[in-house]
């Protein structure tokens, strides 16, 4: 989808919301339409580790203790009751986590280009340590309330496009792998060395997804909203079957080869999907006016 098409889609959705707003009956909770608040999303770290480098099952992760481990996402949101049934909302979610580097890369990586070819032979299947990720997810979403409910009170479904951004940073003193260089010209193998170059130490990535969810909103004292429910990122949920495979990156992108220079790029999406796949949430908001 091109940027222009996305823009058209957004305009179309806005048109639908504004149309229903025009025909609105009771709008807002006792007339109060705008709310702002904080939300906490959490999901169990089933496969990958969480920010504390722990996972429930320990597979593919450095934590093998089997301790309960959760990912947490913090959210700030702004929601507006456009009609008795629809809310138009915007949120920004922040999370900080790690990738436990459980993903293996090629034992041999490098390039062969005539006489200048060189290669690295790794002794380790994957780098030790982890790299950290700081994610920001922007979501423009819509809540649709059930027939008996009045926005922002009651049961609802929600949906909307999300933009996942993530900044990955690694510390070369933590994330490293043992291997040796091979120089084809001289048929020379270097002595065993520690390889710490996995590209720039800070790397940024973006991706689009689609959020779906349902929840229930209660209102205390005609002012404070308590909202709870579940949400998923649609494409992350779709990829679950691949992500739980032994070598997920290969399953998704079979031709892709993972080596030290694209290691973060190849693995960061897997982790982002894990964090955003399925979350339960609890939000607290304040009805403003």
């Amino acid at each position: 989808m091109t940027t222009k098409q996305r823009l058209h889609l957004i305009v179309f959705i806005l048109f639908l919301v504004l149309s229903s707003s025009y025909l609105a009956q009771s709008t807002g909770f006792m007339g109060t339409r705008l709310q702002i608040g904080y939300g906490l999303h959490a999901s169990p770290a089933l496969i990958g580790s969480n920010a504390n480098n722990e996972s429930i099952f320990g597979n593919h992760g450095s934590a093998t203790t089997g301790e309960a481990a959760f990912n947490t996402i913090h959210e700030g949101f702004l929601e507006f009751a456009a009609s008795s049934k629809w809310m138009i909302c915007f949120s920004a979610r922040y999370y900080k986590t790690t990738n436990d580097n459980s993903k293996a890369f090629n034992n041999n990586s490098g390039s062969y280009s005539g006489y200048n070819a060189n290669q690295i032979d790794f002794y380790d299947r994957n780098p030790s340590g982890y790299y950290t990720m700081q994610g920001l997810t922007y979501t423009l979403y819509f809540k649709y309330f059930g027939s008996r409910y009045v926005a922002p009170w009651g049961r609802y479904v929600m949906f909307g496009p999300t933009l996942n951004t993530v900044k990955a940073t690694y510390d070369p003193t933590i994330m490293k792998a043992r291997g040796r260089y091979y120089d084809q010209n001289s048929y020379y193998y270097s002595t065993d060395t520690t390889i710490t170059n996995f590209g720039p130490t800070t790397q940024k990535f973006k991706g689009l997804n689609f959020m779906l969810g349902f929840g229930r909103s209660r209102i205390v004292g005609n002012r404070v909203t308590i909202d709870y429910g579940v949400n998923v990122q649609f494409f992350s949920a779709l990829s679950t079957i691949f992500d739980i495979g032994e070598n997920p990156a290969n399953l998704i992108d079979r031709k892709a080869e993972v080596n030290e220079s694209n290691y973060i790029e190849r693995t960061v999406r897997y982790r982002v999907r894990g964090v955003n796949r399925l979350n339960v949430f609890l939000k607290i908001g304040v009805l403003l006016f």
Partner: protein, 724 residues
């Protein structure tokens, strides 16, 4: 001089306060200062009662405390129901009789609170704390003041012997028993216990009664009244001449040669009845009367003429109560009996007009009965009726609906001419003209087929048949007027029904349709009468949730009628959570007012629970609207059945500045397994047009949280205010 003037003024005042039943009747209303039960905080009262109970060394305190809660709420519910009359003529009279009975026991007399209940049922009820309610239907039936006095003695005995609370305790204990007994056994045991208490009240009541100067024989006769309570208050032969005029002679075929006899079931099996059969009860009293001197005992101590007057008041009121539950034949018969005594009473004539018109509508299918109706299966067959009223039922059953409409018009129009200022009768008359036009009858149907006029009328009919050029109304009238000179050989009895009106009454001629087929019928045929109007082009939005909003009207103000709140918890022994419901109701009233206020929605509250002791007018107004809804809810509330108890509705609309009445409530239910349901309803009725214009009924699988209530009530007002 003043000594003479004051009694004169007082007597004049009394005379003025009495109604002149020869001319008219004004429905009974409460007056004066409202009793404490209206203004007191019922929770405090119950807590005090329970506290008093706990001070005594009594058994079954838990059950009794539940009883005190239930009984207090029950009494409050009855008194505030809009059906209880306070300080009206009948209630004042009942209290005078009680004064006579208990003139030697002022302490007991002061404990009693006696009220009249606007119910056609023939019964009386005694509750805890001396509250007694006597049905209008009972007072209308009794033959003497002494009979009424004995019935009061019986009820007083129930109170003094604490039968109500003891019966409650007994029933609760039986309900708790789980041993191997089926429900029938328990019912029989409960009934047996109840019968013992009734017999005790009969005996104790008689002992109280014999201390008075009332004729003891009347206690025995009181059981005859109960025995024949299913019959009208007076058995008078129904004569067809009542509807006949010089020009209308009803065929004998519509009338029975003889009516059925009255079945005697005084010895019926009373195993599953709460009262002994009347034969047993009567015998008990007969045995008590024996060997007692009846010398100097009289039938009336308060006054015979006053008794008769009061009884006639209740009989007049009874007509309204029959109309309220759409029991038109009974109302018609009652009014017929009263018309014999008060031939010029406008109210009675109006009741008969209402009944005639209503039965016309019933015949056309415009009035429907269903399982919610008092008359579930419609007007009963005459074979189910005993004695003289059977003749009336037979007449109603046999007359074809079109003819009934004509007969109704004949009666109602002539009544309208007799009471031209009565707007209701005028409205019924106009509606009947429209109804006539709907059934394709017209002036042409009243042209007699005489030898000389045959050609004229046939020509007229041919003209009508070809519909090329309908015979003019004046031609038809002229032909009727001419044929009067000839001997008719057309034997249809109704042909001359309107002859005098066609001859002399311009208003009648102007309103009567020339012929049915040439008259454009309205959608309902009786739109001139506001209570039965039905707009065919009304736009109604229906949603799948069963709610709708009529979109024609933009509502700014409603009359809020006593918001309802009930909490039921099946997991508890006492399912009905009275205290909790009461508190929630108070909060709910606040919520409804807040939500209305936030939207600048004008809300006038009419709630007998929110009155001061001087607000008797509000109680009367509530009663009027309550009557309207009783009649409305006799059938499906969505139904367009016309409503006849509307005389004071217009006044109320003017007084409160709105014709929209808002009813709302919440029922919160918790099952034994812990499932929660909350039901929210809100209805707005246009009481002038007899239409439900807003309906919302929703179920939530949730507790009755404050946000739910706030959201729904606010939404309701928003939807009312903003037409979509």
């Amino acid at each position: 001089m003043i000594k003479f003037i004051i009694p004169f003024v007082m007597l004049s005042g009394l005379a003025i306060s009495q109604q002149n039943l020869k001319d008219n009747f004004v429905p009974l209303k409460s007056s004066g200062t409202l009793p404490d039960v209206f203004t007191q905080n019922i929770r405090n009262v119950i807590q005090k009662d329970i506290s008093d109970l706990n001070k005594n060394h009594e058994n079954d305190k838990y059950i009794k405390s539940n009883y005190l809660t239930e009984a207090n709420y029950e009494i409050e519910k009855i008194v505030k129901s809009g059906n209880t009359l306070i300080n009206d003529e009948v209630t004042v009279y009942l209290n005078k009789v009680a004064d006579v009975i208990l003139k030697n026991n002022p302490t007991l007399r002061n404990e009693l609170h006696i009220y009249t209940l606007k119910s056609p049922v023939v019964n009386a009820y005694s509750y805890d704390k001396g509250y007694m309610f006597i049905d209008i239907g009972l007072i209308a039936q009794v033959e003497t003041e002494a009979q009424l006095a004995y019935i009061l003695c019986h009820e007083i005995s129930h109170y003094t012997k604490k039968h109500h609370i003891e019966g409650y305790v007994k029933n609760k204990k039986l309900d708790r028993q789980n041993y191997d007994r089926n429900g029938d056994d328990k019912l029989i045991e409960k009934c047996q216990y109840s019968k013992e208490k009734e017999s005790e009240a009969d005996v104790e009541g008689f002992r109280l009664f014999e201390q008075t100067d009332y004729n003891l024989k009347q206690a025995e006769k009181a059981f005859d009244v109960l025995q024949y309570a299913h019959l009208p208050f007076e058995l008078v032969e129904f004569k067809k001449s009542f509807f006949e005029t010089e020009y209308l002679k009803l065929p004998n075929g519509y009338f029975l040669k003889e009516v059925s006899s009255i079945r005697n079931n005084s010895n019926e099996d009373d195993t599953k009845l709460t009262h002994p059969n009347t034969a047993k009860r009567k015998q008990t009293v007969v045995d008590l009367i024996a060997n007692r001197s009846n010398a100097g005992k009289v039938n009336a101590l308060v006054g015979q003429s006053q008794f008769e007057y009061i009884r006639d008041l209740t009989r007049m009121e009874l007509c309204r109560l029959y109309l309220k539950r759409r029991d038109y034949p009974n109302a018609l018969y009652a009014a017929y009996v009263l018309a014999n005594k008060y031939p010029n009473n406008q109210y009675v004539a109006e009741v008969i007009s209402k009944c005639m018109y209503a039965i016309s509508l019933y015949g056309k299918g415009s009035i429907r009965y269903n399982s919610d109706s008092y008359l579930e299966n419609g007007i009963p067959s005459h074979s189910d009726i005993e004695s003289y009223p059977q003749q009336l039922y037979h007449f109603i059953n046999k007359v074809p609906s079109n003819e009934w409409t004509m007969l109704s018009l004949n009666y109602v129009y002539r009544t309208h001419k007799k009471f031209p200022s009565n707007q209701n009768i005028n409205a019924y008359s106009d509606s009947l003209f429209k109804l006539v036009s709907q059934v394709n009858w017209g002036i042409v149907d009243f042209v007699r087929l005489s030898k000389k006029t045959e050609v004229v009328t046939e020509t007229a009919k041919d003209t009508l048949a070809t519909a090329a050029e309908p015979a003019s109304k004046t031609d038809l009238i002229a032909s009727i007027q001419k044929e009067n000179n000839f001997k008719s050989y057309d034997t249809a009895y109704y042909k001359e029904m309107y002859l005098d009106l066609f001859m002399n009454d311009k208003e009648f001629i102007g309103k009567f349709p020339a012929n049915g087929s040439s008259t454009t019928s309205s959608s309902s045929g009786f739109s001139s009468y506001s209570t039965s109007s039905k707009s065919s082009d009304s736009k109604t939005k229906k949603s799948k949730k069963g709610e709708y909003i009529k979109t024609e009207d933009k509502i700014q103000k409603v009359l809020l009628l006593e918001p309802f709140y009930l909490k039921i918890d099946e997991s508890k022994e006492e399912e009905f959570q009275y205290f909790s419901s009461d508190k929630k109701q108070e909060n709910y009233i606040v919520t409804v007012n807040n939500c209305a206020q936030k939207q600048n929605f004008e809300l006038v509250t009419l709630d007998p629970g929110l009155v001061t002791s001087s607000d008797v007018d509000k109680v009367n107004d509530y009663s009027v609207i309550n009557d309207w809804f009783s009649e409305k809810f006799d059938a499906d509330s969505d139904d367009k059945n016309p409503i006849f108890n509307t005389n004071e509705i217009d006044n109320l609309v003017g007084k409160y500045g709105t014709q929209y009445v808002f009813k709302t409530g919440i029922v919160n239910y918790k099952s034994r397994s812990g499932k929660k349901r909350t039901y929210y309803y809100a209805f707005v009725y246009d009481i002038k047009k007899n239409e439900m214009i807003y309906k919302k009924f929703e179920t939530f699988r949730d507790k009755d949280s404050k946000d739910l209530i706030n959201a729904k009530v606010y939404q309701t007002f928003y939807e009312l205010k903003h037409k979509k």
